[in-house]
Symmetry: C2
Amino acid sequence: MGSLHNGHMALINTSREENQTLAATIFVNPTQFNDDDDFTRYPRDIKTDLSLLEEAGVDIAFTPTLEEMYPPGITTFVDVGQLGDILEGKYRPGHFKGVATIVTKIISISRPTRVYFGQKDAQQCAVVKKINRDLHLGTEIVIVPTIRDSDGLALSSRNLYLSSDDKKAATTLYRSLCLSRTLWDHGENNTEKIKNKMAELIHTEPLASIDYISIANTETLEEVNSITGPSLVSLAVWIGETRLIDNITLCPIIET
Amino acid sequence: MGSLHNGHMALINTSREENQTLAATIFVNPTQFNDDDDFTRYPRDIKTDLSLLEEAGVDIAFTPTLEEMYPPGITTFVDVGQLGDILEGKYRPGHFKGVATIVTKIISISRPTRVYFGQKDAQQCAVVKKINRDLHLGTEIVIVPTIRDSDGLALSSRNLYLSSDDKKAATTLYRSLCLSRTLWDHGENNTEKIKNKMAELIHTEPLASIDYISIANTETLEEVNSITGPSLVSLAVWIGETRLIDNITLCPIIET
């Protein structure tokens, strides 16, 4: 969706190592915004974006207009079912229908060998993997690790909304994720207990307000009671007027 | 869906004139049946089908298994909205969601230059055109005219269900469509009047029971009050235990 940061650049750099030709899409997709104001104020800077892509050696920049992606009379959408209704989907109704539809369109148009998505949007990654598999789109979905600033804050175009006080407060997301890892490293397996400790930590930050904290199966994103397989710890937290998400994965070593 | 007849052969013959390589898919798609019994009893004869395809010079026969097209855990579907909910969609809830989903999958897998569908399933043609456009599937949809037997009965795999009495009764569908053309040729423009006359004719056949008679815009399939542009006259009629559909198009000559 443009407003490029080093998280996007990591996608491009990973892609460059694995492919001969690189294409990047910049399109602020209205159907994945559940709030019109959020869509209107979403940061856009196409001129800077295009020079960043050029510098990074991207061969093709695909920057369609709204009318090209959604011509008049368009009504078809792609729905992934349950996976799109939980977590982010619960707080942002219709969001993943918008994501699934635009990604299906862009993959249909470009027919890429591989597509790169950032781990920061973990549920989006799961949704995109699912449509690729379920609709036989025939591409390979590559997930690139989250890029963080020195305080641990996950890079996001929405970070542009944060004041310097907000930015300090926003580190609480990653700190709480690290806490979950520490607790787990020390033998805590009960996800309810881990989530409570994370919430306690976040509640010490007056600017923060929690939408959800989840510990779930990394594929189905269904909540788990104890960490027995690869688990996604994810959360959505408002920092003042800005909603941020972040996640880490806990992978138990299976002894054989 | 196999159980090939001369309607399918017309698709193949049309395709042969316009393409170098021909592929045919045979797959009885469970998700487009709204009735389990209908799915179970749907005629299947893969052996005969494959020899017919070979005789016709088809290069590739794609005959996936249920598990290949719908692996466990599949939940994604394609929905065309309103266009899939009217006419056939009203009487067969979920039917066009099943059609749109399987066609998206097959086009994604095969990436054809052109795809051929029969005019007999007019709403299916409209739905397939819509997903191709809305999801940017990048193929060309070619509609091939309906093939009829000497009595005017549109060829359909379901005709195998008809007894010889049923077959005679089934000619009432095409006769009523021809009546609509005759009335229109004689200056009748009022679609309510035309539909009433068609219903009258069908009611003279004791084995026939009408699901719907429609006169609609050929693209949107929305009902029209008078025939001022290209209009689809379509109907669904039960003949005994068998549900049949048929249609014709009325195209006014626009004087300029």
